[in-house]
Symmetry: C2
């Protein structure tokens, strides 16, 4: 059932066009880095002991990663700048994608990139989610606007697999898995952003289906010309449902109805109204969608009435980790661009030799580059650790292992989503800074990464929402048990680590402090209903920085043990020491902000802002 990836570079496809500036297409997938993360830092091949993943041998995984890297660099990356310039825009109910997107998606789909981690029963390749994540990082580095389309489709697949009836799955999943059709996620309405308790889009029963009426906004890839059909996953209450989130149901609303034989039928009563002019991700259409302007849009309920939000969370948890990964992807791309520039741009003199130098010879440029690199490494490790937990919580045979990783995944997801997306703003900003004035000029392409990055801390739940999830649901609600388990893992690493005294001492100190801060929250959160909200983001950031150090120490040990590329391993150790010395200290600033700042935080009200 498992199908190895079929991508072979084709010379007859997508020749470089005059509008592609080759200098913008110089992304190189970090295959060596990925191999280190999958094989040295984490032990992804241990997944092969799970029967479902028995065929996911290291060789196969390496081949998939290699081919994904090629595809990202050769096919998707060259379209990134053009997508930013041309935009995907709605006109007369249709959306035209930038030049090359349609052809690139077609090849993407034909080569099976949409189905990597999907169920073989529906045409998927059955590989671990973690392998999909490796490829997905590359898509996001290459062209985040493009990558959003299959990312949302994958979310749709998850929802259908988990909650849809057998009939719905049989009818819609194979084409979604194969990428012939794509998926979207319809939650937001103009008056309701993060608060879904008052949605105005309504559904009413009509025979074996429902009819929906209403408007949804911020629908990424809500309409486009790259696939034959688009499956909208729509959150809406039934007309007579109780108010609030418990009245919400979930619906599958296809752009084209599908006949019994699987062929496309009538156009459904839904259409794109307009697309937003945005700060970034301009290659992707962000649509205002209208459902049921005439007779009502035909929709099929997924799951039970009133279970819509619970079902949607299946999609959102998936999407949250992938959005964290977008932060990794853009950071990596920005780092590569900055490093290339720093190696080429001659300016000033080397402080040691006094000789004319490229700017990589300047200590402050080295600092910025190492900050970018060490942050990106930490972010990547966090996302892949969460991803491994997802594979294990889903497929491990041992129920205890499943339960352990279910808790760990739940704990790491908001951190991966929020911490990585906060940091990507800083990393891409450093990418601009290293370019100096050239970074502010759009032609260079690095400003686009900064613009594209800015949405990631907003969509799929803002940083504030992730932090409330972390503190409220993942720390306080289970009385710190999941947190304690993670702390045990981190303490075990501390015990094992004897490779660098200063790094060990600093990590130990910040680990102790994290326990103090968590205890402070557990002991004080009942004092005020505002307490959690007042401290949550700072605590999340603290956790992110400490986890980052944890992964860096593990990376140091893995590099120390590795018999591979010596320079690569040496750089890994430098990055770890740099991170612990220069980045980790921020954790205590956030700890202070929680412990000393909770009082003033709770005291604030609208009156403070005159």
């Amino acid at each position: 059932m498992l199908v190895a990836n079929k991508y072979f570079p084709r010379t007859d496809f997508l020749p470089l066009k005059p509008w592609i500036n080759p200098s913008m297409a110089d992304y190189k997938a970090p295959v060596q880095e990925m191999s280190f993360v999958l094989n040295d830092l984490f032990d992804v091949q241990s997944l092969t002991t799970i029967p479902a993943f028995a065929e996911a041998t290291p060789d196969l995984v390496d081949a998939v990663v290699q081919e994904a890297g090629k595809f990202a660099a050769e096919v998707i990356a060259p379209l990134n700048r053009q997508g930013d310039i041309q935009h995907s825009r709605a006109k007369d109910g249709a959306v035209t994608t930038p030049d090359g997107f349609k052809e690139a998606y077609s090849l993407f789909q034909q080569n099976g990139w949409t189905s990597l981690a999907q169920d073989p029963n529906y045409g998927g390749q059955g590989l671990p989610f973690t392998v999909h994540m490796a490829a997905s990082e590359f898509w996001n580095s290459a062209n985040m606007s493009f990558a959003l389309c299959p990312m949302l489709s994958a979310g749709g697949m998850d929802v259908l697999m988990a909650h849809a009836s057998q009939d719905l799955r049989d009818k819609f999943l194979p084409q979604l898995v194969s990428g012939e059709w794509t998926g979207t996620m319809n939650l937001t309405e103009p008056h309701a952003g993060s608060d879904l308790s008052s949605l105005k889009t309504k559904a009413r029963p009509d025979g074996d289906h429902y009819l929906l009426k209403g408007q949804k906004i911020y629908i990424t890839w809500g309409e486009h010309d790259m696939a034959d059909n688009i499956l909208h996953i729509v959150l809406a209450p039934l007309e007579d449902a109780p108010a609030g989130v418990k009245g919400l149901s979930l619906f599958l609303v296809p752009k084209y109805l599908v006949n019994e034989d699987g062929s496309l039928g009538d156009r459904n009563d839904l259409s794109v109204v307009s697309t937003e002019e945005k700060l970034g991700i301009n290659g992707s259409p962000t649509c205002v969608m209208s459902f049921g302007e005439n007779q009502g849009a035909v929709g099929y309920m997924i799951g039970e009435p009133g279970q819509g939000l619970a079902c949607m969370f299946t999609l959102m948890n998936h999407a949250r980790l992938e959005v964290g990964l977008e932060g990794v992807g853009l950071s990596e791309r920005s780092y590569q661009d900055a490093l290339d520039y720093a190696k080429q741009r001659v300016q000033g003199r080397d402080p040691e030799s006094g000789a004319s130098t490229t700017i990589i010879g300047h200590p402050d440029v080295q600092r910025m580059l190492m900050q970018m690199k060490s942050m990106t490494d930490a972010m990547r490790a966090l996302c892949f650790d969460a991803s491994l937990s997802h594979d294990l919580r889903s497929h491990a045979e041992d129920e205890q292992v499943k339960a352990y990783h279910s808790v760990k995944f739940a704990l790491l997801t908001p951190i991966a989503k929020a911490w990585c997306t906060e940091l990507v703003n800083e990393v891409t900003s450093l990418g601009i800074q290293i370019h100096g004035g050239m970074g502010f000029v759009e032609e260079t392409g690095v400003a686009q990464h900064y613009r594209d990055a800015r949405i990631t801390a907003i969509y799929e739940g803002t940083t504030g929402i992730q932090a409330n999830d972390l503190v409220g649901r993942k720390l306080v609600r289970d009385s710190g048990q999941g947190f304690a388990a993670l702390m045990s893992e981190m303490r075990a690493t501390l015990d094992d680590f004897s490779h660098d005294e200063q790094s060990k001492a600093q990590f130990a100190q910040h680990l102790d402090r994290l326990q103090v801060t968590a205890d402070f929250i557990l002991n004080n959160n009942s004092q005020s209903a505002s307490f959690e909200g007042a401290v949550a983001v700072n605590f999340l950031m603290q956790m992110g920085y400490v986890c980052g150090a944890w992964y860096h120490l593990r990376s140091f040990m893995a590099a120390d043990k590795s018999t591979g590329d010596a320079q690569f391993n040496q750089a890994k150790k430098l990055a770890a020491r740099f991170y612990v010395a220069q980045v980790l200290p921020r954790a205590s600033a956030h700890a202070d902000a929680v412990e000393h700042g909770a009082g003033i935080g709770v005291e604030l009200s609208e009156a403070a802002f005159v």
Copy 2:
């Protein structure tokens, strides 16, 4: 000689045009805030004891600030979004500015806003620089692209006043002071950004003037249609000058030559080649300028041969403080927008009451708003303290006072420039975050602030360059004496402050730590030529955060003493406590990065980036 400001709102000028979206024009100059800073936090009226400023009475200053606020809000702010959309673009050797800019500049000029702090001998109003800064903050909040034009003119005035011959001053200064003509600053060339030692633009003597040939890039307002003439201040070596920065001279190169009688003569041999497509400040043209494509551009030397860079620093020091102020202006604007939105947007439930609420009822939104506000307050205080030192170093009668403030100004300038411009990225990012998805949509206008802000940490010397200036020239070169004087001022505030125990204790701790970090640098900088560069930015950021707390404690005391608006004063105290509890802790993260991170910083080299 002193002329009170003549601006009265005119009903016949610049009626709101259909292209002005009124919702984008809702900037309100923070006049109460400014009055607090000038009169309560600092004692700007003490300047009236200086003969030169005898007429700058509190009433006059207040009137000027009021009128500037009106002008900024009513005339300049409404053009901000349109400037971003239309851009100033070069075509056929001319630059067309966005609709309304020309008329607004004409009114700006006619009402004397260009001459506030200029020498009455050349038509200036002779007010303190600090009063000009108050107005300038408003211009930058209202429309930074627009504000850049008079900002660069003022730099040109400073250079001419300080270094040009009497003849040149008489011939060119009055029209520059009156704003009939504008000025520019021409340093950068394609191959030479921050490093000016290898400029290719050359000057050769030709009678009583020089002829220049070469190309300059990143020339802000290098060409436009708002003034009759443009005076380019151009840095270039004479043809036979020694290599390096010591060979550089400074030239005044007017767009139109000026006849003996002051009338405009021939067009000089210079022209705009193109304008850059940028991330932000799109209303302002960023020009590639070509000098001397035919016979050579006529230029007049300012100062002595080989003294060009020293002379240019007069302009650059001025400009650096004003760029720091741009950070303040954009932060203020972004804060106002976010606060308005937070008060209007209904979403979710108040955690205390459970009732439906505007988002300002959410603790994390309050945190973000207070972070924006308290950072903006700290940044503003830093810029105005530096500005007061500038007035005192320039005009105090007591030589000791002059000398003291000369050192203090030199110390504070790189911090004001770099710290404020780093923070404005964060503040404007929070402004987006508070808007949620709406913040990412350009229509809201808040994304523009984020884009506009990004240049400020780059031009007029990057953050890295400011930090090297701070550590190399201002700390190490004078063995920490200027730093010690500032520490004494801060310790005096600590001694006076007995208003809030927690804030006092935390400030004391961070003050002690700052001394430790400075000593660490003074004791270790000779170990490696890379040392200063490896620690400089973190030290600068640490100083910025500690200075910010210093101003907040002074602000707390001033508010405590004030008999004015009780709610305003209460909010000031809250902002101070919030800043100390939640923002100041970052200082120790930077201290750690210096003290624990210097080693790994020095160790880095190109090999670390594989």
